[in-house]
Assembly symmetry: C2
Homo-oligomer: 426 residues x 2
Amino acid sequence: MKKENTSFILKGNVCYSKSPKEAAFIKDACIVCSDGICGGVYKTLPEKYKTLPLIDHRDALIIPGLTDLHLHAPQYPFRALGMDLELLEWLNTNTFPEEAKYIDLEYAGKAYTMFVEDIKKGATTRACVFATIHAEATKLLMELLDKSGICAYVGKVNMDRNSPEYLCEASAADSAQDTASWIEDTLHGYERIKPIITPRFVPTCSNELLERLGTLAKNYHLPVQSHLSENPGEVAWVKELVPDAAFYGEVYDRYGLFGKEVPAIMAHCVYSDEKETERMLQNGVYIAHCPQSNTNIASGIAPIRRYLDMGMHIGLGTDVVDGYSTSILRAMADTIQVSKLRWRLCDHTLKPVSLEEAFYMGTKGGGSFFGKVGSFEEGYRFDAVVVEDSDLVTPRLLTLRDRLERVVYMSENCKIKAKYVDGVQL
Amino acid sequence: MKKENTSFILKGNVCYSKSPKEAAFIKDACIVCSDGICGGVYKTLPEKYKTLPLIDHRDALIIPGLTDLHLHAPQYPFRALGMDLELLEWLNTNTFPEEAKYIDLEYAGKAYTMFVEDIKKGATTRACVFATIHAEATKLLMELLDKSGICAYVGKVNMDRNSPEYLCEASAADSAQDTASWIEDTLHGYERIKPIITPRFVPTCSNELLERLGTLAKNYHLPVQSHLSENPGEVAWVKELVPDAAFYGEVYDRYGLFGKEVPAIMAHCVYSDEKETERMLQNGVYIAHCPQSNTNIASGIAPIRRYLDMGMHIGLGTDVVDGYSTSILRAMADTIQVSKLRWRLCDHTLKPVSLEEAFYMGTKGGGSFFGKVGSFEEGYRFDAVVVEDSDLVTPRLLTLRDRLERVVYMSENCKIKAKYVDGVQL
């Protein structure tokens, strides 16, 4: 990281979202970064900025930093392995045995270093990350992420029931106590990393545990992340476990973990019914849409068009490693693609997601969980990614929108030339 | 291309298909290439081969060359552009205006060079390629592909109705005459490239044209490639155009273009009904499954499990550029992914496609259109791809099958170290 100067000008071809329907595409423009805050985008630089150092990225694209609203760092070692299972089987076969290894700090260090190196190289600048139930390994992950320069919420996971013995906390009280100590240790421990309350999901969290976590969230005013209505088997199980809940998410809501008291991210929402959706809207819950994961473990396709049209908060998640790709650009492409299949196969009233909408979700949509993040509008935190797309050859003359479309679909053939978080180049 | 020696040994970690259900994974093995033909895979090299030069690819994976059964070379310039249309709109808006440009040989040279460079870099060793209606530009493409070293069938496209004036041949007779001259010019013109009869699809080909093409196919004993039952609107249109046909494919079958008289590849087959499927099976038609294309232009998801279980001939196509990726490894991953969504959303009786099945389709399944191609069994033509997967870090110890699974899903993070066609290194 080069920390010296967080006031400067970036020059290049600038693309950013204003709203789900509107993106700005400005050729050969200057973006002002003033003490880590965006001072606007200019075709002609105002006089007052002319003394700032200017970094000219020439023909490259400059887009806002990307936000990954949902991923599991400890699952990185088995990405793209054992890809023939559904959620509940997947957890028992792939996930839980791997996560159990993080009691061993040496293993955790090795695996988390690989994960962080990958994230660092990519276009993600902010993330909401699940760790494991192990407080020490979670702290190690937070430390490594902090050093990488990206901003993140990281959660020590809670699970006190329906979990294998080797990955089950002794009691709700123990789990909450461990979590409280971990919060105390980490709340002010890092420059860019904050703790987040992380009940794995209703099946592995007793009511008592959820209640205790709700109290912690409220007392420390910490946000919450969890899973919601991902898979039909899971939804049916929750109905069995909490038969008097009106809907899956109501279980979280009872305990102050569903966006009303503190901000909350719910991953997936593939099977959220009308009541659940309505409550999410009322409470301002963030939906982390994870299209690759929903495909890989055959969960289904979330009705993102409906959520977008209702004006809900939506961002994108890679869900590493149910999604094997760590790229939010790929998640944008996947979002559009699965929305087309949903339109074709399930529901002609829900039109496919557009490029502008997918770009919004991966930048400003998810970014807003972190405040004014994910755009180059004035006053936004200066997170930027410089993308070199010169390997995507064509004899055509392309507009900037064309180029962004190609970057989204063929991001693996592009290079990330530079990445800035809060005006700091990583 | 290094042509000197087509007898040698390749050493590395060898993966190849035996059948849709069974793949071989052999660590530190030697593959014998004897005059361009595979002489078997050995853990311990037989005495008689010990004098052959040995190329040790150490820890890399060696897989058979990949066959792309369906792609459109002239569409390469607009890959990943204008991705919000269905088939018939897509043709009119994106495809036809671009294809019209290939009347200009200078443009064709520029665009086809970019296309061929891309294919050359990738893992594809054999391909069945659509060009345009322009014979001269098609010859240029054949020449460029021949120089690249890959083996291909290339088709001058035929279309004499329902096409924009700027891309419509004057009459069935003219179209057939042009095609006959082009066949004469190209049948023995290249070392690795052969012509293939290529009616675009029923909507743009009159009965008279199809009849004439059937005669050409028979007289020259040339194979056929076309499109079939891709999109509901297209299927309905064919029903209107040829109301007495029992099914879409019957129109091709009437004129000897459906696998009975000469081999035929039909791309897509998303909506093939029972009668059509039955006829394809009887005739030995090859299905080119193009999952990314079927997603991008919202065609749907083909019932590949059904075709596999019936024992039909199936290979994979990238369908550049309805599919923007030129990678058959990516097509394998897409095949598995969309089959999961189909299982979840449409039909629980059709189980998702396995890794072994997708790998088969992209190697031996599609390869068999070219003869004994796509495996390392003895007697197969020696097409091989050496894949370096060392960037896919993990703290785990992986089996060879694990590694192949990761290569399939994360091929963009792997390197193609070497590629051989008929024992010649490209």
